[in-house]
């Protein structure tokens, strides 16, 4: 196994354990891991953005063909237009030229809205309405009417009724121009039931997701405890426990007595 992999395992195991110590209480090991995470994330983002945007998408298409083949004409100089608009954003840092940044923001807002509004309306509103309005009864080829009552089949007529009741009652619950009394109260309460079921499902999925993250870290810790990684987890666990004890004792001595 390569040195890089073993070093990576030690760093990953150590930082995982340091972060998990927060469950006991706030401590310097957690702070160290937290600051490292922030620093590395920002550093990685800066380097990748510089390499991808400035070098690969701007510098190389404009200038590299000229350097490598001696043909400046091959450079894609049209990139100067977005580059100039992007550079205008930086004008905000100088009070006298700050107004110029509005040109760039106007461009971003205008293009963004123009691209997004029709597509979002089509995808989220029209398509969803189309799916919500479903037949409550099926008309057969012989002219007879049928009704499917399977809850397991999302396309069944019974589920179409559930969907209709849910949509109408939840919409009514958020309709505040009419007082929720009498029959309106029943509809609004039904809407609350649908909302609660929805929140419950979302919470259940969230619990599952968080447990998955814990499982992922524990799986890695178990793997890194193997001899091929030098028993990284065991050594770092011992170091973490010793550090926490020392920190606890030192804090006990330095804190003033109540």
């Amino acid at each position: 196994m390569s040195f890089e992999l073993i070093l990576g395992a030690w760093v990953a195991a150590g930082l995982t354990l340091f972060i998990l110590t927060f469950l006991y209480q706030d401590n310097p090991l957690f702070k160290l891991a937290e600051h490292l995470y922030v620093g590395v994330s920002v550093g990685y983002a800066i380097v990748k953005t510089y390499d991808t945007v400035l070098v690969r998408l701007i510098y190389e298409p404009m200038l590299k063909p000229g350097f490598t083949q001696g043909e400046w004409a091959k450079g894609d100089w049209s990139l100067l237009i977005p580059l100039t608009i992007g550079a205008l954003m930086l004008a905000r840092y100088a009070p006298k030229t700050a107004w110029m940044s509005r040109i760039a923001f106007a461009f971003v807002v205008g293009v963004g809205s123009g691209l997004a509004i029709p597509r979002v309306v089509s995808s989220y509103i029209l398509k969803q309405i189309e799916d919500t309005v479903r037949p409550l009864l099926m008309l057969g080829a012989d002219g007879g009417v049928s009704f499917t009552a399977s809850l397991a089949n999302p396309a069944s007529n019974l589920n179409s009724i559930v969907l209709l009741v849910g949509v109408v009652s939840v919409l009514f619950y958020f309709f505040f121009s009419v007082e929720h009394t009498g029959p309106g109260r029943v509809v609004a309460r039904t809407g609350i039931v649908f909302l609660m079921i929805s929140f419950g499902a979302a919470f259940g999925y969230t619990v599952m997701a968080r447990m998955s993250l814990l499982i992922g870290r524990l799986t890695d810790l178990i793997e890194f405890a193997q001899p091929k990684y030098g028993g990284a987890t065991w050594w770092l666990l011992a170091l973490t426990i010793v550090t926490l004890i020392v920190f606890h004792l030192r804090r006990g001595r330095t804190e003033p007595r109540q």
Partner: protein
């Protein structure tokens, strides 16, 4: 202080310890609980299974290392399936922090399957813009990504021969931890360029994506670690997701028991307080 009151004021670190132990033990001693596959995961599997050899499959790994435990096993399973079917695989990401990890998973699985970079698969890397990148790819993949992750010109790669834009891609799967992700691929991609779209996501965002699944805007959805485990079962290749399912089941059971116990103690306390005319403690 009554027993119920003591339980409601229990040190939360004890709860953490119980959850930790209940997660760790099944990982060390697997029980092999049954995993049933759901229609939404089967849809993604079936679609890839029926794609002709040489079809173009685009996997967008729209997540960062924070979602690795859930989405990395999904990526591994999907890539194994795509390489099994000898599809041409295009990998990319719309999430900057996930670039290195996305490259690692594609390279790792490809090497395991004996696939060649540039010939059987390509990793395009990351490009800024989110939805704009998808629109750009709809016009020309070569313009959106002039070079791949390793700085090879995309125009010269055999794997991309004959592929001009997203219209030439048969199936796109976005593995998303939020936005930019599946919804972005639908709004700016599928709706306009008419490729089939599937999704894989973290458990947190899965409930919000079911309306897209029901309306047919996406043809399937792999939700969280559970979805990854189902895909591994369908593929007949058990990996990290299946290994984690025992722990997931046990911790869910423990959480359900804790919720029930908490409610029982709460009502016990309320009854005793109502009897004595006292108010409930704050936070209980």
């Amino acid at each position: 202080m009554t027993f119920a009151e003591r339980m409601l004021r229990i040190d939360r670190r004890i709860i953490f310890l119980i959850i930790g132990v209940c997660t760790l033990v099944p990982l060390l001693f697997p029980m092999g609980l049954a995993i049933k596959t759901s229609p939404e995961v089967t849809s993604v599997y079936d679609y890839i299974e029926h794609m002709p050899e040489g079809s173009v499959f685009l996997l967008s790994l729209d997540f960062d290392p924070a979602s690795k435990p859930e989405l990395y096993p999904q990526a591994v399973a999907l890539l194994h399936h795509a390489f099994n079917r000898n599809l041409r695989v295009i990998g990319m990401t719309l999430w900057l922090p996930g670039t290195g990890m996305a490259n690692e998973v594609i390279t790792h699985v490809a090497q395991e399957r004996g696939k060649v970079n540039g010939k059987d698969y390509v990793f395009l890397g990351w490009s800024p813009g989110g939805g704009s990148v998808i629109i750009n790819m709809g016009q020309s993949i070569g313009t959106a990504f002039p070079t791949d992750y390793y700085n090879q010109p995309t125009a010269s790669l055999p794997v991309l021969a004959g592929i001009q834009s997203l219209r030439d891609v048969q199936y796109v799967v976005s593995l998303a931890a939020g936005t930019t992700g599946i919804e972005t691929w639908y709004v700016f991609g599928k709706d306009k360029y008419k490729f089939e779209l599937g999704g894989g996501c973290t458990g947190v965002i899965a409930p919000g994506l079911y309306p897209l699944l029901r309306s047919g805007q996406i043809n399937g959805l792999i939700g969280g670690l559970r979805g990854a485990a189902e895909y591994e079962v369908l593929l007949g290749r058990k990996g990290r997701a299946v290994a984690g399912m025992d722990a997931q089941s046990v911790t869910h059971l423990v959480i359900i028991v804790l919720v029930i116990l908490c409610n029982v103690f709460y009502f016990m306390l309320r009854r005793s307080r109502q009897g004595g005319g006292q108010a409930l403690p704050s936070g209980s």
